[in-house]
Every structure is written in structure tokens, then in C-alpha cells.
């Protein structure tokens, strides 16, 4: 008998398995590697740092990695730019900004033990060309560095061991391409060291036991649509474990429907501050309700458990405001 039943192949490709029989994956912060992704401007860095603060508070040695060289995490900590260094922000919490050129250098250093060869390579034009021109190489070495950070026995001399590596990943679109890079490279290089290393990276990304993804969304029509599309693509195209969707910036429900109706009447018959305050309350009520509708849509459209994070009425998000979010994460 051939390996078919009901016309369905018995041996499914890995992504099919991932979709059809979700392997129970450990809690978010018990993983070793966590990618935080979502549409631009939804608060990915804030959530990544909040997750980092939470894990660190639980005693896990945690590092938050940025890959866009924007150093938004440093900004939250009001810390000077950290660059390509593992810098301690708080007890148990480190931060690094992964620069592809530095990652490439480090990669070569780890590959070539003979100093003369390394110097020769760094000086040669051919290497500079290749490093700058080869498509996707920057993303590949960036993921390579993330892999290195997540190793229990670090390759880098004197490297600290982390319990959890959190990546503030590129936005939707770029994010998918980013996580797909190793597989693309494994396809391009059919054999050889790059092929096997790219496969190793792809294995790490799709390892449901150790690697997870958190999607950050906003309670608005289009971000909800995009988050649902992103979840589907991450699960089916890449085969990663999407563990959590965070709906960020949810307004409190401060007023009941009856109260809002009353306040609308007051606003119509008053002026000055009373009118302005009543109108602000009516607006708030409307927004809070429309956000609840979006939350319901999101829950209906994604398979992943959705957690909500409150809108913070803070002029700028500093580390204490972010810590307030950290308590509401799991």
C-alpha cells in the first residue's frame, strides 16, 4: 500500500504538519528565542522591551536585539546608543543593536582562525564587493548573529549565556522576507558550508519548542487585517510558531452607553470647559467601542491567543511606563 489515505499524502511537508497539528509550544518567555513583529508603528520595540523587562524580573538572563540600527530600545532606557555590543540595561537585561557589517566581520573571524588570511580578506576588494552586493547576505549574517546569541555555548570568546533572546524584528513585509532569508539561501547554495549553516538557521527559526513569534497589532481596521494576513503567512509560508498576538493601545472603557448619551446632551447645552470635557468623554467612548469591535474581529480572524495591552496616556514612553506594560504581558 502506498502512503496515501483519503487522497492525502501521508508524509506532509514540515509546514503542513505545523499547520495541521500544532505542537503544544511552551510559554512565551520559556522559549530561547522570540521574534516580535507586526506592521510599522504598532509598538514592536515597546512590546519587545516590555517582554525583556518581564523576563528579566523573573530572573531570566535576557537580551533584546534590534536589527534596524534605529536604537529605539536604547531610547526607552534613555541610554546612549549601544551599537554592536551587549550592554547591560538593568539587572538580567542586556541590549544589542545588530549591525550587518559587524556581524559579517565577526562571522569571518569565527570561520578563519589564521590571522593573515583574515587580514587578506578584509583588505581585498572582492570581499567588499561580495559583502555589499550579494542580495540577502546582510539579513543572513544578522540572523546568524541572533543564532550565535541564542547558543548555550557561545562561539564568541567570553560570550555571556542568555536564557532568552528577544528580537525586535523588521515590520510586516520586511519581516516575512527577513525570517525567510535562511531558507532562500539554503536554496541558492545547494551544497557547502553556507548551505548547511543556512539550514541550521532555518531549523532554529522553525523550532516550535525553542523559538516563538509575537505579533503586535493595533485596534484599527487595517492593522487588524494585516495582522491576520501576517499570522497566516508566518504559519503557512515559514512554518514558525506564532504564540501570541498583542493588541496594543487599547483604550479603557471609562463610560457606559447611558453615560455617553447623557454627556452628549450636556455637551450640546453647555460651553467652555464643561462642554469640551463632555465632548472628549463622548469621543473616548466612541473610540473605546470601535476598538472593542476591532478586538472581536481580531479574535475571530487569528488562531493565536490574543492579549490586550492598554493605551498609556504618557507623553513619551520611558522605561517605567514600559515596565507598567510588562506586568500585563502574559
Amino acid at each position: 500500500m502506498r502512503g496515501y489515505s483519503h487522497g492525502r499524502p501521508l508524509f506532509l511537508p514540515p509546514t503542513e504538519i505545523a499547520r495541521n497539528q500544532p505542537i503544544p509550544s511552551p510559554d512565551l518567555l520559556d522559549k530561547r528565542l522570540l521574534f516580535v513583529t507586526g506592521k510599522g508603528g504598532v509598538g514592536k520595540t515597546t512590546v519587545a522591551v516590555a517582554l525583556g523587562l518581564r523576563a528579566a524580573a523573573e530572573g531570566k538572563r535576557t537580551i533584546v536585539c534590534e536589527v534596524s540600527s534605529q536604537e529605539n530600545a536604547s531610547r526607552i532606557f534613555e541610554h546612549a546608543q549601544v551599537g554592536f555590543h551587549e550592554v547591560e540595561m538593568e539587572e538580567n537585561l542586556w541590549s544589542i543593536s545588530i549591525d550587518p557589517d559587524e556581524s559579517m566581520r565577526e562571522y569571518v573571524l569565527l570561520q578563519l582562525k589564521v590571522r593573515a588570511m583574515r587580514d587578506m580578506l578584509f583588505r581585498s576588494r572582492i570581499f567588499t564587493y561580495l559583502a555589499a552586493a550579494t542580495p540577502g547576505l546582510k539579513e543572513l549574517v544578522t540572523i546568524g548573529k541572533i543564532w550565535e546569541l541564542a547558543q548555550q555555548h557561545r562561539k564568541v570568546k567570553g560570550g555571556r549565556e542568555y536564557d532568552l533572546v528577544i528580537v525586535d524584528a523588521p515590520a510586516t513585509g520586511h519581516g516575512i522576507g527577513f525570517l525567510q532569508t535562511p531558507r532562500t539561501f539554503a536554496g541558492i547554495a545547494r551544497v557547502g558550508p553556507i548551505h548547511s549553516q543556512a539550514l541550521e538557521l532555518d531549523r532554529l527559526i522553525t523550532d516550535h519548542e525553542h523559538t516563538g513569534i509575537a505579533i503586535v497589532a493595533l485596534p484599527e481596521e487595517m492593522p487588524v487585517n494585516e495582522s491576520a494576513a501576517l499570522e497566516a503567512e508566518l504559519r503557512s509560508e515559514i512554518g514558525v510558531a506564532v504564540d501570541r498576538v498583542y493588541l496594543n493601545g487599547l483604550y479603557p472603557e471609562r463610560f457606559s452607553k447611558e453615560e455617553a448619551e447623557r454627556l452628549a446632551e450636556v455637551a450640546a447645552g453647555e460651553n467652555g470647559s464643561v462642554r469640551a470635557a463632555a465632548r472628549a468623554a463622548v469621543s473616548e467612548h466612541g473610540r473605546a467601542r470601535s476598538q472593542r469591535r476591532q478586538l472581536a474581529r481580531l479574535r475571530k480572524r487569528v488562531e493565536t491567543p490574543v492579549k490586550t495591552l492598554p493605551f498609556l496616556f504618557e507623553p513619551e514612553l520611558d522605561v517605567e511606563a514600559t515596565r507598567a506594560l510588562a506586568d500585563k504581558l502574559s
Binding site: 510599522g40 587578506m120 580578506l121 570581499f127 552586493a133 532562500t184 471609562r254 465632548r279
Partner: protein, 383 residues
């Protein structure tokens, strides 16, 4: 403050740029709609496959060809179309293929690139290729001269500046052809390249594996006949962007981070001598009008009016929260205006309803196209 139609008077190209999540797509769609309503033939282009533009124009989907948006759609939402609105979504891969076909000296060179395994894997995902292809399509549509105005919604890049850099990066990538010389380290090439390169190549083989190196060399080699054509084209695209008929609009939000990025982006535009038109700040919390009317004891006045101390307290707390955000926004916008030294700063309020359809576009257009006096009235009508 100036209205958007004054900023765009006589312009043929409008590029909307800004970091992700600031409402670029909606703003682009609203500008294109408003300009078309005022009698122009406008095409709005997006490269974002997330269907955002299609959604906001009430369309099912968009393709790589410009499609006219049915004017009846707008009339139902109170917008009278005196001109025409067209929209398209760019397919980066298809555009890249077309470009290769156009630049290839002969069919054989064309097919060598299009059939190359590495090209097929990366032509859609190549760093900078999306951005460059957006510029390329813009150039093509402009040359064809079918539209009065082209509005480009730039791709959601990690860095709003990526696309300015795209032509240079693409040229750099094609110049990887030099690798071909090194791949044959015998004869003349070896003499030119020298012993250092031969050793470096040996080292690279060890790291990358011979196969990959050979494939890469073949990939760059396939492009070798097109380098001049690509460079020529990149130059033309760049001069179109710098033309006075082009206008860059920076789109941002009122928080500290987007404002910082807008300032940075504006500086880069000026450095690159590209024509900056103005800045649009979305989702601004407006300060409430006449907020000091009750001598400070708002909660007391509310309590008296409502006869419910608990509710009054919540209303007052909510109001204080919004006022704090309005103050923050005002301070950030003041900083933005000072840094940019521009009159072209348009504020769009944080609307009660989230903007994702034609009603939302119509609402945004009231602000984009309002004269100074109208804008004051609009602001006064809001809390």
C-alpha cells in the same frame, strides 16, 4: 498654513514619504482623490502588497496596470470627481523583469539573467529593489505623459530614506561583475588582480563553497552587459526626482519618535537637493477650545451639571489625559515647524472614527484641502 492644493500647484509628481504606521497610504490616497476631484487626471501608485490602498479606495484589488477608480464610488460619499482617479499596485518582480528586458543588449543576455537561479530567488526581495522599482515605474509613467499628477506612496521601509539610496545600491550590486574577473585567476585577469586577490578568492571558496561562489559569479556576469544601461537609467530617475516639478511630502505622527524621523528625513532631502513640499502630521490631538472657561475647578463644575460626582471625576480625568496628549502634540509640532522652517505644515486631527474607507478619506480631505480660515473653523468645531 497652506492647503495641499497650493503646495502641489503645477507639480507633476508627489512622493509621500515617512516611516511605517504614520498613515502614508491613506494620505496618498486622500491627496490623489482630492486633486482628481479638482479636475486633474491623477494616478496613485503603491508598492505595498498589504492591500491598504485598495481597501481605502473601496476597491477589491489593484494590479501592476493602472486602473481607473469608478467616480460613482466617490459621489456616494459626497466627492464630485471633475477629473479622473487611477490607481495601481506595483509588482517589484514584474517591474524588475521588464527593466532587465529593456536594458539587455540582446535576447540571450536577457534570458541569462531571467533564467538565473539567484536572480529568480531574489529579484523580488533584493534589498532596495522594491524601492528602486517604485522610482523606475514612476519614471516610466511620467515619460508616457498620460497623467497630470502621479502620487507615490513609498514602500514601508525600515528607514524612510532607503528609497533615496536605492539607485546607488542597485548600481553597486550590478557592479559585482568585477567578481567575474577574479573568478578566472589565470592569464591577464590574474596579473591585474594580483596574488592578493587569488588568495582572497581561495579564502572565500572555503567560506562560501565553490558552488555558491561560481553561481554568484555567473549571476553578476549575466548582468555585465547591462551595467551602463542601468547606470544611465538610474541617473535619469535621480534627475526626475530632483526636478522642480517633483514634490516630496513628509508624512508623520505627532509623537516624539515620528517627529524626530521627519526632521531627519527633511534634512536628508535638503542634503540630496530634492524638492521638499511640506509635512503632514496625522492623528493630532487638538487642544480643546475655551478650556479655561471654568476657573480651574472643572470637576466641581461637571459634578454640579451632571449631579454625579463619580462620573464627573472620570470625565475630568479623561479630559486631563487628552489635554496632556494635546500639549505633547503641540510641543512636538512646534519643534517640527521650527526645525523644518516651513509654512507647509498640515495637521490632520485624530478623528473619532479610524480612517479606512471613503468616508474617512473625505473627512481627511476637508483638512488637507482647507484654506487657513476654514482650518480654524474646523479646529474650533472639535473638542
Amino acid at each position: 498654513m497652506t492647503a495641499i492644493d497650493e503646495i502641489l500647484a503645477g507639480k507633476e509628481i508627489c512622493v509621500c514619504a515617512g516611516s511605517g504606521g504614520v498613515g502614508k497610504t491613506t494620505t496618498s490616497a486622500a491627496i490623489a482623490t482630492g486633486m482628481a476631484a479638482r479636475g486633474l487626471k491623477v494616478c496613485v501608485l503603491t508598492i505595498d502588497p498589504a492591500k491598504r490602498l485598495a481597501d481605502s479606495l473601496g476597491l477589491k484589488e489593484l494590479g501592476n496596470e493602472a486602473k481607473r477608480v469608478d467616480p460613482a464610488l466617490f459621489e456616494r460619499h459626497g466627492i464630485e470627481m471633475q477629473g479622473e482617479l487611477w490607481a495601481m499596485m506595483l509588482d517589484a518582480k514584474a517591474t524588475f523583469d521588464e527593466l532587465v528586458a529593456r536594458q539587455a543588449p540582446d535576447e540571450e543576455s536577457r534570458d541569462r539573467v531571467l533564467d538565473n537561479r539567484i536572480y529568480q530567488q531574489i529579484s523580488g526581495a533584493l534589498a532596495g529593489s522594491q524601492e528602486y522599482m517604485a522610482m523606475e515605474k514612476l519614471y516610466e509613467l511620467h515619460s508616457e505623459g498620460q497623467f497630470d499628477l502621479l502620487v507615490l506612496d513609498t514602500p514601508p521601509t525600515r528607514n524612510a530614506l532607503d528609497f533615496l539610496d536605492a539607485p546607488r545600491r542597485l548600481t553597486q550590486f550590478i557592479e559585482g561583475r568585477s567578481l567575474r574577473v577574479f573568478m578566472k585567476p589565470t592569464g591577464l585577469a590574474a596579473k591585474v588582480a594580483g596574488r592578493g586577490a587569488t588568495v582572497a578568492l581561495g579564502v572565500l571558496k572555503r567560506i562560501l563553497g565553490f558552488d555558491l561562489l561560481a553561481d554568484l559569479a555567473e549571476f553578476f556576469n549575466a548582468f555585465s552587459g547591462m551595467v551602463d544601461g542601468f547606470q544611465e537609467r538610474a541617473k535619469k530617475v535621480n534627475s526626475l526626482l530632483a526636478d522642480p516639478g517633483t514634490c516630496f511630502l513628509v508624512v508623520c505622527g505627532p509623537q516624539g519618535e515620528p517627529v524626530d524621523e521627519a526632521v531627519y528625513f527633511h534634512r536628508k532631502l535638503v542634503e540630496a537637493k530634492l524638492p521638499f513640499g511640506g509635512v503632514i502630521v496625522n492623528k493630532v490631538h487638538y487642544p480643546a477650545d475655551g478650556a479655561d472657561g471654568n476657573g480651574g475647578d472643572l470637576e466641581g463644575a461637571l459634578s454640579e451639571r451632571l449631579g454625579d460626582a463619580g462620573l464627573a471625576e472620570r470625565v475630568a480625568a479623561n479630559f486631563a489625559d487628552y489635554q496632556a496628549l494635546a500639549e505633547r502634540d503641540a510641543a512636538n509640532i512646534e519643534r517640527l515647524a521650527a526645525e523644518l522652517r516651513t509654512k507647509g505644515l498640515i495637521r490632520i486631527p485624530y478623528l473619532d472614527e479610524d480612517v479606512h474607507d471613503l468616508d474617512g478619506l473625505a473627512e481627511i480631505n476637508r483638512y488637507l484641502f482647507a484654506s487657513s480660515e476654514e482650518r480654524i473653523e474646523l479646529a474650533a468645531g472639535r473638542a
